[in-house]
Amino acid sequence: MIRLESVSKVYKGEVTALRDASLNIDKGEFVFLVGASGSGKSTFIRLLNREETPTTGKIWVAGKDVGGLSSSKVPFLRRNIGCVFQDFKLLPSKTVAENVAFSLEVIGRPRNVIRSQVPAILELVGLGDKADRFPNELSGGEQQRVSVARAFVNRPLILLADEPTGNLDPATSVGIMRLLERINKTGTTVVMATHDRSIVDTMRRRVIELEHGDIIRDQSRGVYN
């Protein structure tokens, strides 16, 4: 599903964010990316959804050579990838349902599809009764659930999460992780960058550790360090 071959990313010719990384992530895997701030986790994520292109090396995501993709094809790649962020990136002027519907609307999904899928996904993330609330009326955990709903409503092959629990308290984080696990069980590959030791240690999934841009550990059923 995801394959990196000797991938390096150098910013402005000076800062090396990722050095000679090679790895495979299979369909349906759940992978934690761990490492200190600035170790290259976010660059890794950004390379996968083509927000960045590799300086050298090749990346395949969902069968596509991401680095060689023309910019007009990038949107189609991203329709196969859901993204969740630490800061949720919800639109404050839209309701919960509108935020989720927006992501379907802008990729041209027909209205009847939107009308049936939005309530279903909100039910799935446990926000069926908050469809008409605005983001600022929700707790952080609830906002992150909306963001997960938005990322998953289009049934992507891959879900990328960049520190999704970074702004949440431990109890709320557990709820979000349960949700990501459920999504992973449907066959969606999940790649999650995190600092959250307890989550990594309890879930015991594959762990890839980065340090100054190098992959220093790749362990199945791993722990934080």
């Binding site: 949107p75 790649l77 991203r78 990838i81 993204c83 639109l91 990729i107 041209g108 938005r150």
Partner: protein
């Protein structure tokens, strides 16, 4: 890709409403510059029609009586052609005179209907070797007394003056209009940048979930298009309102010579309007396209 028209219209309208003040500024700037372009074009068309027969250095026209005999016409023609002070002579027969008349009065079909080729005078259009006032005057007097000639019309000072006005308007007004058009483009560009900035979070989400560039682009380009087009429509409305004022302020037909009148034909005006509409829509869309491209490629 299925572009949801309803979506594009809704987004465009929201944008325009959100930035209403600067949108009005863009629209007015387009209106003023296109009005100037329109005035310049109208002046030029009016002048061209009014001075149609005085193009290409024709300094005077010798009109022959419609009932003049062939010999009389031939002798006037031969005399003009052999005259060393005459550089070039063009003969307009009655059929050509009728055609010219029909063009001049294309807007007054009643007038054209009352005229038939046989009542119009044939004429010689004369380009003298020298435009010196005295020598032209001498030639005019010489041919006025020829048998068969009913009138010799001179390119009058009014025509010279109106041509100067025309040159001034088409030159300076178009120059100023061009500068204003550039200003309009910059204002629209800024308006769209502002609209994009206001919605940068939405655009970020759109890009993340895989909205195509075209999809992101269209509402902004439509916003630019609307601003340019509304500006052009206001300019056209202004021109229509001020057209009679404009016509009255220019030399009337009796200051010019025979048959010439300072009016605007409907066909010319239609083309002017279409041009203004096209330019307005074009610059609005182009400015918006530049703004969006800058943002998306940054």
């Amino acid at each position: 890709m299925a572009m949801n028209l309803d979506y594009a219209v809704r987004e465009t309208w929201t944008n325009l409403r959100r930035n209403v003040v600067i949108s009005i500024a863009s629209v007015l700037c387009v209106t003023v510059s296109l009005s100037l372009v329109g005035v310049a074009l109208m002046a030029r068309q009016g002048v061209e029609r009014a001075t149609q027969r005085w193009q290409d250095g024709v300094e005077f026209i010798v009109f022959v009586a419609p009932d003049a005999s062939e010999e009389q016409i031939d002798s006037v023609g031969a005399s003009l052609e052999s005259n060393p002070l005459v550089e070039r002579v063009t003969f307009f027969d009655q059929e050509q005179a009728y055609q010219e008349f029909s063009e001049m009065f294309a807007d007054s079909p009643d007038m054209v209907e009352t005229v038939t080729p046989d009542i119009l005078p044939p004429s010689f259009r004369v380009v003298p070797t020298s435009t010196d006032l005295a020598s032209v005057e001498e030639l005019v007097q010489q041919y006025e007394s020829q048998p068969g000639v009913i009138q010799v019309a001179r390119s009058t000072e009014a025509i010279v003056a109106i041509k100067d006005v025309s040159d001034f308007l088409t030159g300076w007004a178009l120059g100023v209009a061009l500068v204003l058009l550039v200003v309009a483009v910059l204002i629209i560009l800024t308006t769209i940048q502002l609209a994009i900035f206001t919605r940068r979070r939405e655009i970020e989400v759109m890009r993340l979930v895989g909205a195509s560039k075209a999809f992101i682009r269209v509402p902004f380009m439509a916003e630019g298009l609307v601003q340019g087009l509304v500006g052009a429509l206001l300019a056209i409305a202004a021109l229509r309102i001020f057209q009679p004022v404009f016509e009255n302020s220019l030399p009337s037909s009796d200051q010019l010579v025979l048959f010439s009148e300072f009016t605007f034909s409907g066909v010319d005006m239609l083309w002017t309007y279409l041009l203004l509409g096209g330019v307005g829509a074009g610059i609005g869309t182009a400015a918006a396209a530049i703004a969006v491209t800058w943002f998306l490629d940054a």
